[in-house]
Amino acid sequence: MSTQPQTLAQAPELPPADLLKMHYLMLLARRLDERMWLLNRQGKIAFVISCQGHEGAQVGTAWALRPGIDWVLPYYRDLALVLALKMTPREIMLGAFARAEDPSSGGRQMPSHYGSPRLKIVSGSSPVATKIPHAAGVALACKLRHEDAVTAVYFGEGSTSQGDFHEGLNFAAVQRLPVVFVCENNEWAISTPLSKEMAIERVAQRGSAYGIPGETVNGSDVVKVYQAMKQAVARARQGEGPTLLEVLTVRLTSHSSDDNQFSYRPKEELQTEQEHHEPLAAFARYLRQAGVLDTPKEQELEARVAAEVDDATAYAERAAPPAPESLLDHVYADAEPQQ
């Protein structure tokens, strides 16, 4: 990732209210995420995988989508994305605590495996990249019904090594399907650096293998991310087919709560990345410069977010776990739930 100081894009089309909402969502995601690490270290939740450093990519792209209308296939880092799509902090925490009420899986899946038919968020699994052909299929159905819904699918750059990435993009390209392929490139796949994942500098270069546009945008420039996504979505909606949109991000945490990144990642690398690409601070700076955010507003926001995080945590902690017998439910549609 280049370490040049970024110049934030101007966004005349985004009114201040939107900019503030975007900031709020990024902040909410960050604080929820931080809380989950705390709960993990307290032994209260068994696993965390983070969005920290990816919030700009996620909220920026989400802003070009219509929650509940466009289809979204997120991956495990997409906490800020699903919040922007109107999942609630309580819903998130219910997943983290693996409660029966968890809307994504009823406590069956690891945290961050989001799903919601209501929000058109497609249930995802743990094996990476399988969802990429799904996105093409979801879009195929929309196209067949002449709906104008767009499908957006998210994944890390490491996952573009999988055959399913290739097969999914190729199918979507041949059929000119309304899909946006969003790659959150943090330059690491667990401990594997970009240079061992691929012999190219930019994932966007892979677009040309399918005859589709490939674009790279800096994930800490939220407005630019939004603009790039808006264009890709417009292309999809106008029948011009898919786009591969690469958003450069930084993974601020270890891969997950089971990892310790300093066993393989130089501390300085992270520091440099952080200075230049930390999206939350960068966006706050931008909003201050634009006169949209000031200290009192920020304090107010922090307080509101803290209350929401507290509420969600308390709610989920008290909620009931799935009943043991429920493990037999939903293997097939016709099997009656046991309770």
């Binding site: 289809w71 968890d102 809307p103 994504s104 899986s105 009823g106 069956r108 899946q109 495996h113 799903g115 919601s116 038919p117 497609v122 249930s123 699994s125 094996p127 399988t130 990429i132 052909p133 799904h134 996105a135 093409a136 299929g137 979801v138 879009a139 195929l140 159905a141 929309c142 067949l144 019904r145 055959g163 399913d164 097969e167 999914g168 190729n170 199918f171 041949v174 059929q175 439910d329 939903h330 293997v331 097939y332 549609a333 016709d334 739930p337």
Partner: protein, 327 residues
């Protein structure tokens, strides 16, 4: 009633379901103008257009993956895998995704997908166009596996598969495509998934089998009848979920069971059937539960000598039945 072969029955089921339900779409390699390499989809693209009969790139994981996505979003896709041997690149999509979609989403998302594929040998298909792959899927909760042996069953069960809200792997034995003819009612009928069928009543022994081996077993039973031995033949038709009642009933009635499949022995479906009987039908057994199956080699060879040596035949089945009768 019309006399059709299995291929025609499959095509008829596809045609009628596409007529009936605009959400049914086909996708696979060469399913369009070519009508599939076995011509099972012949004429369908001409009738329903390239939007509903989609020639895909050569990529099975992609085909199944796209079909899963379409199934999540209101379509009823029928994906064709050109030969069952080539379903292996799609295992991850089938097992991690299709089979687990409903379960992992706690019932929120369903996956009404049908995957059709021709399997089995006897058509000089050699190592990679002859394999039986059912055992790999009969271990996967969330999937259903159907393997009809007659045109009648093929049509009724394929319709059931397409209408089912869960993923169904629909196995068509390629040797039966043109070989096996039978009466097929015109128009709509649906057969229930999960029900075996007694193809021949008998009292001394029973054969439990499916696919092409049903026909070979019926021939063998006929031979034994001429020798005064009465053999029941049970066609499983659905391999997952197994029709346990039917299996146990046949075993109880005859006390002597021979399980037959073309697939190689070890780890094949026969093990599951035998285990079921050895646990729940033990008390009525008069003899060991016998299995007759393909040898434990990677697949059948191209040379006719090797193919014949691999494959079961009515004679081999009859010989095993005689041995069991003599126990």
């Amino acid at each position: 009633m019309a006399q059709n072969n299995v291929l025609e029955a499959v095509r008829e089921a596809l045609f009628e379901e596409m007529e009936r339900d605009g959400t049914v779409v086909l996708l696979g390699e060469d399913v369009g103008a070519r009508g599939g390499v076995f011509r099972a989809t012949e004429g369908l693209q001409a009738r329903f257009g390239p939007e509903r009969v989609i020639d895909t790139p050569l990529a099975e994981s992609g085909i199944v993956g796209v079909a899963i996505g379409a199934a999540l979003n209101g379509l009823r896709p029928v994906a064709e895998v050109q030969f069952a041997d080539f379903i292996l690149p799609a295992m991850n999509q089938l097992i991690s995704e299709a089979a687990k979609m409903r379960y992992r989403s706690n019932g929120a998302f369903g996956c009404p997908l049908t995957v059709r594929t021709p399997y089995g040998g006897g058509v000089h298909g050699a190592l990679y166009h002859s394999q039986s792959i059912e055992a790999l899927f009969c271990h996967i909760p969330g999937l259903m596996v159907v393997a009809p042996s007659t045109p009648y069953d093929a049509k009724g069960l394929l319709k059931a598969a397409i209408r089912d809200p869960d993923p169904v792997l629909f196995l068509e034995h390629k040797r039966t495509y043109r070989l096996i003819k039978g009466e097929v009612p015109e128009g709509d009928y649906v057969l229930p998934i999960g029900k075996a069928k007694v193809k021949r009543e008998g009292t001394d022994l029973c054969v439990i089998t499916y696919g092409l081996m049903v026909h070979y077993s019926l021939e063998a039973a006929e031979a034994l009848a001429r020798e005064g031995v009465s053999v029941e033949v049970l066609d499983l038709r659905t391999l997952l979920p197994l029709d346990k009642e039917a299996v146990l009933a046949a075993s109880k009635k005859t006390g002597k069971v021979l399980i037959v499949h073309e697939d190689n022995l070890t780890g094949g479906l026969g093990g599951e059937v035998a285990a079921l009987i050895a646990q729940d039908g033990f008390e009525s057994l008069d003899a060991p539960v016998m299995r007759l199956a393909g040898p434990d080699v990677p697949a059948m060879g191209f040379a006719k000598t090797l193919e014949d040596a691999y494959l079961l035949s009515p004679e081999k089945i009859a010989a095993a039945l005689r041995k069991l009768a003599a126990y």
